[in-house]
Symmetry: C2
DNA sequence: TTGAAAGCGCTACCAT
DNA sequence: ATGGTAGCGCTTTCAA
């Protein structure tokens, strides 16, 4: 693998000139430039990005940490990030963290060791404090899909309370009074926030509502099945289910059918995220749209612009640009109760 | 950001000793080692991976190129690669190529410039010749989900002909004679291979079958809808649809319903890949299981072991370990014709 | 066990 | 417009 010196020698010029050509720098004569270019091509020269990085004291690409790639929601994040990277002609380096704390930490560390300056991290398992430390240390680090009060100017997150309120409002509008919620636990407590939002919203109505909370581990199709199974086993009464995400909702629908109940006639179901799955379902799923792709794009832009600064002064910010709002998408899985 | 020199100075030792500690090398006294470690911690030392890489002449992590992250099938690849990386305690760097030739090429180049030695690339848009050149130049490069004859010992692929045969066999077993195929075009021609497989299989039966091929761009839910729309508009007769993937199959089912036909009573549908989607569907989708995750794991191991060698001699290989077989998964979307 | 010093491939400053 | 060269942060002989 030829180095800059080899090229220089072969072209009869100095390494400095070759470097200039590589970086499209000025101060190189036209013929010299052409000659060097030709030789580089002939010798299949490939710059060593590591050597470049060590000199430039930084790494221009964008570093990304994603908690899990197999979740389509997260895949959407990756896509959003890619979009702005492509448009700015930057590369992204993605390090995924298999959904456990240690590997998420590892992923961040490795990116830092490679001196990536702009970092978009979607962490599901790392605690607030650790992330705050990271954020303070690394000016170009932005947290995606997470809200930490102390560094909220470095976060891009979804308004989960509003999401909960939206769900509650819709279901109450339709005349439901007995509501079951399928959530998931996790460090982020999205579920708790959504339930807060629901309760706050419900409190505005004159009637009393029963919210039956069912914690449940997996945010998956199977998780939805199990949750409904449990609800039924416990003899809980409900006419509507508010699910943590679309996959759970679909699993719930399936298990309800298995028990001879149809959706929405016997039970109404609302999902969350509005993934493609929600549209494919029968019945089409009423759900809450999650603008995660926009959020990812915003986070990337933020990380990029923050990484340019020196990190001395935290930038001003308007919360509205950091907190994104979910939107209700009404389809066919909720019925009106007479 | 402290360097190795800063640590050395603070600890009153030479940079060499610090380096030894960093790399868990021998020849360092116990107390010296402890002291250096303490200082590193105190000063929050973080090794510069770029500097390390430039010395070691290589990059230990695994480089990955994926054509598209938003397709769940590809997300599964990423997951498989991750699994073996984690188990070997290696990092992965993923560069995704937005499904166009230029950015796929770019992704590979960048990884090479960073001197990654083990490369798993899933390219959908780059031509054979270019990939062959890459493979010859980079000993640790492995092609995932692609078969190029000239370098098949460097490829991990699915037996598409067998996939087609499986589909055909099943549908014929069930008494169908008029078959519509929804494919997608692309550089890889999976579709063509599958159709070859179908025809070869069909030829073994005494009856004549009609295969109606419908090319179609998008391998998505919407693509499936459009394809069925077109089939119907063209007045094609069919009792079964063989789809390129599960998403298309689901879209097809939806559009059939929209035209008042039910699956499987009026039309049978077979998908491909066996993603979670196939199980969530009503009716549950009969499909072809694609062992992509195993394939990804295998590809990663191969890349890793190849990158260890000097590249002088192409390793022996047994084709069976490179060509993976799809498997029919019978569910509820195919009916028996009387 | 430790340290001095020569690179790794490249950039950028200072001369020419 | 060009070349010489001193680093960038680290690893790795080779001596001590």
């Amino acid at each position: 693998m030829p180095t800059i010196k080899d090229i220089a020698k072969a072209a009869g010029v100095s390494p400095a000139s070759v470097s200039r050509v590589i970086n499209d720098g000025p101060k190189v004569g036209a013929k010299t430039r052409e000659k060097i270019k030709r030789i580089m091509r002939e010798m299949q020269y490939q710059p060593n990005a590591n050597a470049q990085a060590i000199n430039m004291q930084n790494n221009a690409s964008i570093g990304i940490v994603l908690a899990d790639l197999t979740d389509p929601l997260f895949a959407k994040m990756a896509h959003g990030i890619e979009k702005v990277a492509a448009q700015k002609d930057l590369q992204i380096f993605l390090n995924s963290g298999a959904f456990d704390r240690a590997s998420e930490l590892d992923a961040i560390e490795v990116l830092l060791e490679h001196r990536y300056k702009a970092l978009v991290v979607h962490s599901a398992m790392i605690d607030d404090k650790t992330l705050i430390d990271f954020a303070r240390k690394v000016p170009g680090l932005v947290l995606l899909n997470r809200h930490i009060k102390e560094i909220e100017n470095r976060c891009i997150w979804l308004d989960d309370k509003l999401g909960g309120a939206l769900m509650a409002d819709h279901i109450v509008d339709k005349g439901h009074k007995k509501i079951a919620v399928i959530g998931v636990d996790g460090i982020q407590n999205n579920t708790r926030l959504r339930i807060e939002g629901m309760k706050a919203q419900l409190a505005k109505y004159p009637v009393t509502y029963e919210i039956e909370m069912l914690e449940q581990g997996a945010a998956t199709y199977e998780g939805g099945e199990v949750a409904v199974q449990n609800l039924l086993a416990r003899g809980v009464e409900f006419s509507a289910i508010l699910a943590y995400n679309d996959a759970i909702a679909v699993g719930a629908v399936s298990m309800l059918k298995a028990h001879g109940m149809t959706v929405p006639d016997d039970v109404s179901v609302v999902g969350f995220n509005n993934l493609i799955l929600a549209q494919c379902m029968k019945p089409k799923l009423t759900t809450i749209h999650n603008p995660i792709e926009e959020m990812a794009m915003k986070a990337t832009e933020l990380a990029l612009s923050l990484s340019k600064g020196n990190g001395d002064s935290e930038p001003d910010y308007v919360m509205d640009e950091h907190k994104y709002s979910p939107v209700l998408v009404e389809r066919q899985s909720v019925t009106r109760l007479s």
